[in-house]
């Protein structure tokens, strides 16, 4: 049953002709633009300082590399979270179109239905995230580090958290526009507070409460070539968040009229 539901979800996601190129194209174009900006801004500042302090040139070169890398990691986390909004919309659409009601009248357990959707949406989002990682690696020279396995694990955990958070919203709301609006707001605020795009500190420790921080820092550590021990806490936090959201969503979907 889980596989059948997962296949249906994947089919519906991939059949949406607009969404797929948009979800891959948008972050890629943003990473590309930022990288180009760095290429223009950093050499000019290097030129200005070249004659006086050589050390700054090296620091600046380091900044160019770090900025592009950081933006790539931060944007990837943000877009995975945005894709989570889409997963939530798909589930709310099932309520609106009454297909969830029809599914719950068949001999399928609610948990099987949720896990099936989780599997399907995860596969779809993993395809998007890996496409972004590989295209930025080979076409834009973003260095995602040496461990593809750990990059994959971090990506899967961020996806897990993004989807299950989306499912919590889907369980609570019955109108996709309202849920999308609130969830988009949450994602934007989290991205801002995480400092992933502004690099201006931790907002007095508030970034600890954002999903972005834990995913973003894990990617950065892997990009720097650090080992598993450096990202252990990040993985534990992401896993714990994912499990917590799953439990909340499963509990909310246990309501008898959860399909409405």
């Amino acid at each position: 049953m889980i596989i059948k539901v997962a296949l249906k979800s994947i089919k519906l996601m991939f059949k949406n002709g607009v969404v797929l190129p948009l979800l891959i194209g948008l972050p890629l174009s943003q990473i590309f633009l930022i990288k180009k900006m760095m290429e223009v801004v950093v050499p000019s500042s290097q030129q200005m300082l070249h004659s006086s302090i050589m050390a700054v040139v090296y620091v600046n070169q380091g900044i160019e590399n770090t900025m592009s890398q950081s933006y790539a990691a931060s944007l990837l986390v943000m877009f995975i979270l945005i894709t989570g909004i889409m997963a939530s919309s798909f589930l709310i659409n099932e309520k609106e179109q009454k297909t969830m009601m029809r599914v719950f009248s068949t001999p399928i357990k609610k948990l099987e239905y949720i896990l099936g959707n989780l599997l399907g949406h995860s596969v779809f989002m993993l395809c998007i995230a890996l496409s972004i990682i590989f295209i930025t690696k080979f076409a834009m020279a973003i260095d995602w580090g040496n461990s593809l396995l750990w990059i994959l694990i971090v990506t899967m955990l961020v996806i897990f958290v993004a989807i299950t958070m989306g499912y919590c919203f889907a369980a609570i709301f019955s109108k996709p526009k309202l849920a999308n609006g609130i969830m988009s707001f949450v994602v934007v605020v989290m991205t801002f507070l995480s400092g992933g795009l502004t690099f201006n500190g931790a907002f007095g420790g508030l970034n600890q409460f954002t999903i972005n921080k834990w995913g973003f820092e894990a990617y950065l550590a892997l990009m720097r070539g650090e080992s598993f021990s450096a990202i252990r806490l990040n993985l534990i936090v992401l896993l714990a968040l994912g499990i917590a959201f799953t439990l909340i969503a499963a509990f909310a979907f246990r309501r008898e009229n959860a399909y409405e």
């Binding site: 049953m1 059948k4 249906k8 089919k11 519906l12 059949k15 949406n16 179109q97 009454k98 297909t99 009601m101 029809r102 599914v103 719950f104 009248s105 068949t106 001999p107 399928i108 357990k109 008898e256 009229n257 399909y259």
Partner: protein
């Protein structure tokens, strides 16, 4: 024990009672109609039966199995046609039917065979690869049915399956219901269109305000009415002032007005025709046609509740 049995079922939403102590039995191979106005509790009763809602008290048995103790087992026997169109706009007709049938455990070549059969039965085979958003209202209704019958359920539960469609599509669906019954399915059919229920169903349960107020064969229900006939008067135009005058005639219990037609429920209608005509003539109303007709389910509902089915 009957094939389907509801025993003292109560369903509350907060303090409001949607299903009020309903008990009824349905035999295998029957077409059972649930008739009642909008908001009477038909859909809630159906949702409890298919396991979408849990009853607050009472028991429901399907083929002797309690739906509370074995919900998945009982759901396997059923196919549910919801009142709302419930399929994926992003999937083709074939993919929709195949998906819902697969949730009942049908797989492999059998799934393909049954999906094709459901498509052919509902007249959608030629359109099987098209997405439903291109379909007409009638075709969407047929797809809604196909998604519920592909796995060949023993019990088909249809909640207002003909809402908002043209007469041709309605006839197609009504004939399909009869055919499904001939093939052996037990059918529970809810509607507020009494003509449909009257023409399709072997037995009828009338629901109002969550209560089952009458249940039986059409003939048995008609015996509940105080009169077996009603006076039907067609007029060129209706003058609502005349209604009060007609209601004052001794023996007239109720009057239904639809367009320019009056249905007058009265004891001994043959003896009242003269008086009715005199009243109309006194008010200067021109009568186009007058006749006596057998009391229908609408009339019975009116007699039992004092309200019309479509109020």
């Amino acid at each position: 024990m009957s094939y389907i049995e509801l025993a003292s079922v109560i369903k509350r939403y907060g303090h409001a009672i949607a299903v009020d102590n309903i008990s009824l039995t349905i035999e295998k191979g029957e077409i059972f109609g649930l008739l009642g106005p909008n908001g009477a509790g038909k859909s809630t009763t159906i949702k409890v039966l298919v396991g979408l809602l849990k009853q607050n008290s009472g028991d429901i048995f399907i083929d002797g199995v309690d739906i509370k103790s074995a919900p998945l087992e009982t759901k396997k026997k059923m196919g549910f046609v919801p009142q709302d169109l419930a399929f994926y706009d992003g999937l083709s007709a074939l993919e929709n039917i195949s998906y819902f049938a697969s949730l009942y455990g049908v797989k492999g070549s059998r799934l393909k065979e049954l999906t094709d059969e459901a498509l052919a039965f509902t007249g959608l085979y030629e359109k099987r690869r098209e997405k439903p958003k291109k379909f007409s209202g009638g075709m969407k209704r047929r797809l809604n049915i196909a998604c519920a019958i592909a796995h060949q359920p023993e019990i088909i539960i249809m909640d207002e399956p003909t809402v908002g469609i043209d007469p041709q599509s309605r006839n197609h669906i009504l004939n399909s219901v009869k055919e499904l019954n001939h093939r052996g399915s037990t059918i529970i059919y809810t509607s507020h269109y009494m003509e449909e229920v009257e023409s399709l169903c072997h037995r009828v349960g009338i629901i109002d305000y969550g209560k089952l107020i009458a249940c039986g064969k059409k003939e048995e229900l008609k015996r509940l009415a105080r009169t077996e006939e009603k006076i039907v008067i067609e007029m060129n135009e209706i003058n609502y002032g005349v209604l009060e005058a007609l209601k004052e005639i001794d023996g007239v219990s109720n009057i239904i007005v639809e367009d320019n037609v009056l249905d007058i429920m009265t004891l001994n209608p043959q003896t009242k025709i003269q008086e009715v005509l005199e009243t109309l003539s006194g008010k200067g109303i021109a009568v186009r046609n007058i006749s006596l007709k057998e009391t229908d389910l609408e009339g019975i509902f009116l007699e039992l509740t004092g309200r019309r089915l479509r109020d």
